[in-house]
Symmetry: C2
Subunit: 527 residues, 2 copies
C-alpha cells in the first residue's frame, strides 16, 4: 500500500536515487517502507505542473472547490484504521491522538469548503461609476481577492495530519484557489503518502486539473530549498523550528521576486499568575499546569514553557506542588529519536545555566525516546540577564520565574521575543489592577488567554494562531481558522470592466448572493 | 516660516551638522531655505518617542483618531497659498496641480477619519463559548485588528503632498493607531516641514501623545537606513524606484526581527489594444494616449510606458498619429534636475537598443529640466529578447510593441514583470475572444482597466494600487484607498477575556454599533 514514491501531480514517481526510512520511536526501530526522495527534475516538474494547473484552478468556482475539499475529507476518512496504524508507527503518538487529529483535519477541510462555497470571503467591494461627477467623472471599480499562485507547504513534525499533507496550510491554499506542493515531513513520509493519495483521488473524482497537488519526499533540505527558490512558487507555509523557518524566509527574501513565507515557529507561551490567584489557588493551578506542560509530551507549539509570578508564599506553594504533580505523570514517547535527543540536549543546556534550580526531574530510567519532564525555577534578575533562558526547550519542560516586583515582571515581559500566546491567571477583579503587565504581554503575543491553559487551539474564525516574530514570520496572518485563507490571496481591481466578463462575485446581479461592500455599504443586494 | 529643522515629536530640532537646499527646477536655481539633516541621535530619539507614543496612541478610540485626522486636514488647508507657493517652487509643478493634490491629500485624511470613526474596519470576530460541547468545551474567542507599531514613511518625489508627509501611507498608519516617522523627501523638504508642522499642531490640539509623529530631513540614505533597522520600527511605507525600494526591503528582511516593507515601485503599465479597436478608432486612441503619456510630464506611477498591438494597418495608423500628436504637446518641467537627467539617460539607453525606432522626438531646444517626450516602436521578437526594453523610463516616454500574432502577444505579456495596471482597449464583444491574453495580463497586474487610461488613481475602497513584484513588494495590499490601513495592523485574539476589560469593539453590548462576525454571521447585534 505504501509505495514510497512521490506524487508529481496525479502520477506516482520515483526517479531519484536517494532513499530513506521512517522510524517507530515506540519500538525504537525503523519502519519497513523505503521512501524515495524527489529528484531535482521531479521537483521542477511539480512546480511547473502547479503553475499550469493554477491557470484553471484559480478560476474554479467556490462550489467546485468545496466539492474537492469535501472529497479530500471523505477520502481521508476512507483510509480508516490503516491511516491510524501508519500514523502511530511513524510518530509514537497514541491511536486516540491520531483519531482526534484526523477529526481536526477533516473538520478544517470541511470548514474551508463551507467558507468558499458561501463565497463572501473574497471581500468583494464595488464602487459604481459617477460619470457626471465634477471636476472629474468617477470610474467603476470592483475589487476582490484572487489566488496568489502555487503554494509550497512544509509538513510539520508534531502534527502529521492537521499541520501536514492535508493540514491547515494545504486546506487554506486549495480553498483560495492555489495549487499546492507539499514537501512531506521525513519523519512521517508514509502517513504523508497515504494522505497525498487521498488528495489525488479526490482531485481526479472532482475533475480538478493535474498538478493542483503534488507531494515530494525528502530527508534533507535540498528539495525544500529548490521549491522555495522556484520562480513558479508564490508563497510558502511552514510549521517548525525558528532555525528552519528563518532559513526559508531568508531564501525567499533573496529571490529576484521575493515571496511571502508564513512560518509558524518557536514560542515559550508565557503564563503570568497574578498575586491573588497565587494566594487563593496555587495548588489547583499547579495541578492544571502539570497536565498542560506534559500534554502530547510537551510537543504542542502552545506548550507553556515559561511561568511568571511575584515572589510570595503562593508562588512557593505553586512551584512545590507543580514539582510533586509533574513527577506523577508517566513519561511518554517523543516523535522521533532526533527530537528526543534535541530535548535532552536543550534541557541539559538550560539546566546548566547559572542560577537555574531543578524542581522536579523524573529520576528513574525511561524507555527509549521517552521524555523525562522537568520543571525548573529561576530568579527574575537571572532570567533577565540570560537570553538562553528565553529560548524554547521543545518538550515537557517549563521554567518558573520568580519576580522581585511588578516592575520587574513588566520588564521581563517587555523583553521577551514574540510569542503565539500569553496567559493571565487572575482572581476576581485583580486583572484591572495590572494594566501595565497586561499591555506589555499583549504587545508580545498573538493571543491572550484569561484563566486557562495555552494548549488547545480551537479551529474557528476568531482564532489567531501566530504572533510577533519569532512566533511567526508575519504577525499579520493566522495559521489556524478560515481567515488563514487570507495568506494566499491578493486583492485585484477591475476598472470599467464589462459586467458579463466579470467574475460572478462582482457581477451586478450578485448571482452568488454574497455579502459585498457597495459604495461603502455591506449588502447582499444586486446593483 | 521655513526653519529647515526636523520635528522630533512636537519639538523642532536641528542638532546635525549637515545641511542642504532644495531646488526650483523651473527657475533652475536653489531655493533659499537651509535644511538641516537629522543626526543619528535625533533619528534614534524619534524612534524611541514613537515607541513610547505607541503605548497610548494604539489604544486611542476611533472617534479621537478621526478628530486628529480631520484636524490635520484642516491645518493643511489653513496653510493656504503659502503651501502652494512652496510646493511649486520645490517641484516645478503648476499651482493647479498643487491645489488638486492638496484636495486629494485632505480628502484621504477625511476618508480615513470616517473609516475609523465608523469602526467596523477592525474586522471584529466573535465565537462565543460552548461550555457543554462534546468531547471538549469550546472557549470564548474574540479577534480584531490592532495597530502594528511605529511606521516609517518615505516621502515620494512625484507627489509632494498625496504620497508624502501627510499622504496615503501616513494617513493609513495614523488611522490604524500607529505613530509615524516621516523620512522627508529631500527634493521637497520645505513643503514637508510645512505639512509636518500642520500635523504636529493637530496632534497638540487634539491631545495626541508626543511622538505620534516626527519628520526627519536627509539628503542621503543614512537616516532612512537607520530608521528601517531600528528595533522600535515595525513597518515601512515607500513610494519610489525599484532600486530604492528593494534596498529597504532587503535591509528590513535582514533584521533580527524582519518587518514588512510596503514599497510601491516601478511599472510600465502595459496597454493592449485589440484588433477591432485598432481598426475602428486608431486615431482617437492615439490622441487620448498622447495626453496620458505626457500627463504630469509622465511622472505618474501609472504612466502608460508600454503599448502592445498586433501588426496591422490600424496599428500603423495608431503609431503615426501618436507621433504627430505627441510633438504638439509643449514639453513641461520635471521635478528636479536629477530626475530630468535620469530621464535623458534612460531614454538614450532605450533608444540605443537595437531595433528600436523613434517615432517622435521633440527636436527643438527645451528649457532646463524640461522633458522632451518620446514615442518609440519595436518588433515583438526584439522586445522579447531584450529585457532592457521591459524597464520603466520614468518620464513622458512610451514604447509601442508590434506583435506578430496573438500567441506572441500572450508570450510577451506573460514575460513582463509585475505591474500596477494593465489596460485593454477593445471594441464591441472582442474582449471575450481574447481570454488567453486577458488572463495573462490579469496575472501580471494589480488593476485591469477596460477602455480607459491607467493614469488617474481614484481614491475609493475598491481601488487596488499595488501589484505583483516589482510593482510593489507585497501584492497582498493596496497603497491607495481605505483598505491600505490593513498594511499596518495585525489580528489579535482574546480568549475567555472578561467583558468589561475587552476593547469596546469586542464587548457583548457592541457600544460602537459596528458590524461584527458573531458565530459566523455578520451582524450589528449585541450578544
Amino acid at each position: 500500500m505504501i509505495t514510497g514514491k512521490n506524487y508529481i501531480g496525479n502520477q506516482l514517481s520515483a526517479n531519484g536515487s536517494k532513499t530513506f526510512k521512517t522510524f517507530n520511536p515506540l519500538l525504537n526501530l525503523e519502519n519497513e517502507w523505503v521512501i524515495t526522495e524527489a529528484s531535482s527534475d521531479e521537483t521542477d516538474q511539480a512546480a511547473k505542473l502547479a503553475a499550469q494547473a493554477y491557470k484553471t484552478y484559480s478560476k474554479v468556482s467556490g462550489a467546485k472547490k468545496a466539492e474537492f475539499l469535501r472529497a479530500i475529507a471523505d477520502e481521508i476518512e476512507a483510509l480508516g484504521d490503516d491511516l491510524v496504524s501508519v500514523y502511530t508507527s511513524e510518530s509514537g503518538l497514541p491511536a486516540g491522538r491520531a483519531q482526534g487529529e484526523r477529526g481536526r483535519t477533516v473538520g478544517q477541510l470541511r470548514a474551508f469548503a463551507n467558507h468558499v462555497e458561501e463565497g463572501s470571503w473574497v471581500e468583494a467591494s464595488i464602487d459604481t461609476a459617477q460619470p457626471d461627477r465634477q471636476p472629474l467623472p468617477k470610474v467603476d471599480l470592483r475589487k476582490m481577492n484572487i489566488a496568489l499562485g502555487p503554494v509550497v507547504v512544509f509538513g510539520a513534525s508534531n502534527f502529521p495530519l492537521a499541520f501536514s499533507t492535508a493540514g491547515g496550510d494545504t486546506a487554506a491554499a486549495l480553498a483560495a484557489g492555489c495549487p499546492v506542493i507539499v514537501k512531506s515531513h521525513p519523519m512521517h513520509a508514509a502517513t504523508g503518502e497515504m494522505v497525498a493519495g487521498a488528495i489525488v483521488k479526490a482531485a481526479e473524482k472532482t475533475g480538478m486539473p493535474n498538478g493542483v497537488f503534488s507531494n515530494l519526499n525528502s530527508s534533507g533540505i535540498e528539495v525544500g530549498q529548490q521549491l522555495v527558490q522556484h520562480p513558479n512558487v508564490k508563497a510558502v507555509g511552514f510549521t517548525g523550528s525558528i532555525r528552519g523557518g528563518r532559513a526559508l524566509y531568508d531564501l525567499a527574501a533573496k529571490r529576484e521576486e521575493p515571496i511571502p513565507v508564513f512560518a509558524e515557529m518557536g514560542s515559550v507561551n508565557p503564563v503570568v499568575i497574578l498575586p491573588e490567584a497565587l494566594n487563593n489557588r496555587a495548588g489547583d493551578l499547579a495541578k492544571t499546569y502539570a497536565g498542560s506542560i506534559t500534554l502530547g509530551t510537551g510537543q504542542f507549539c502552545t506548550n507553556p514553557g515559561l511561568i511568571l509570578g511575584l515572589k510570595s508564599e503562593g508562588l512557593s506553594e505553586f512551584v512545590n506542588t507543580l514539582a510533586e504533580e509533574i513527577v506523577k505523570i508517566e513519561p511518554s514517547c517523543m516523535l522521533h529519536p532526533n527530537i528526543a535527543g534535541a530535548y535532552e540536549t536543550n534541557k541539559a543546556n538550560a539546566l546548566a545555566q547559572s542560577g537555574v534550580t531543578v524542581l522536579a526531574d523524573y529520576e528513574t530510567e525511561v524507555k527509549p525516546n521517552h521524555a523525562r519532564q522537568v520543571v525548573t525555577t529561576v530568579e527574575g534578575n537571572t532570567f533577565l540577564s540570560n537570553p538562553t533562558l528565553h529560548h524554547e526547550v521543545f518538550g515537557p519542560f517549563s521554567l518558573v520565574v520568580q519576580c522581585e516586583d511588578e516592575a520587574q515582571l513588566e520588564t521581563i515581559i517587555s523583553n521577551l521575543e514574540g510569542q503565539l500566546t500569553g496567559t493571565v491567571i487572575s482572581d476576581n477583579d485583580e486583572l484591572a489592577n495590572h494594566a501595565n503587565v497586561i499591555n506589555a504581554l499583549q504587545d508580545r503575543v498573538g493571543r491572550i488567554i484569561f484563566n486557562g491553559v495555552p494548549t488547545g487551539v480551537e479551529v474557528c474564525p476568531s482564532m489567531l494562531h501566530g504572533g510577533p516574530y519569532p512566533a511567526s514570520t508575519d504577525s499579520r496572518f493566522t495559521a489556524v481558522g478560515v481567515d488563514s485563507i487570507k495568506r494566499f490571496v491578493r486583492p485585484f481591481s477591475f476598472q470599467s470592466w464589462p459586467d458579463q466578463l466579470l467574475p460572478d462575485e462582482l457581477k451586478n446581479a450578485n448571482p452568488l448572493e454574497i455579502l459585498r461592500n457597495i459604495n461603502g455599504e455591506q449588502t447582499k443586494n444586486k446593483i
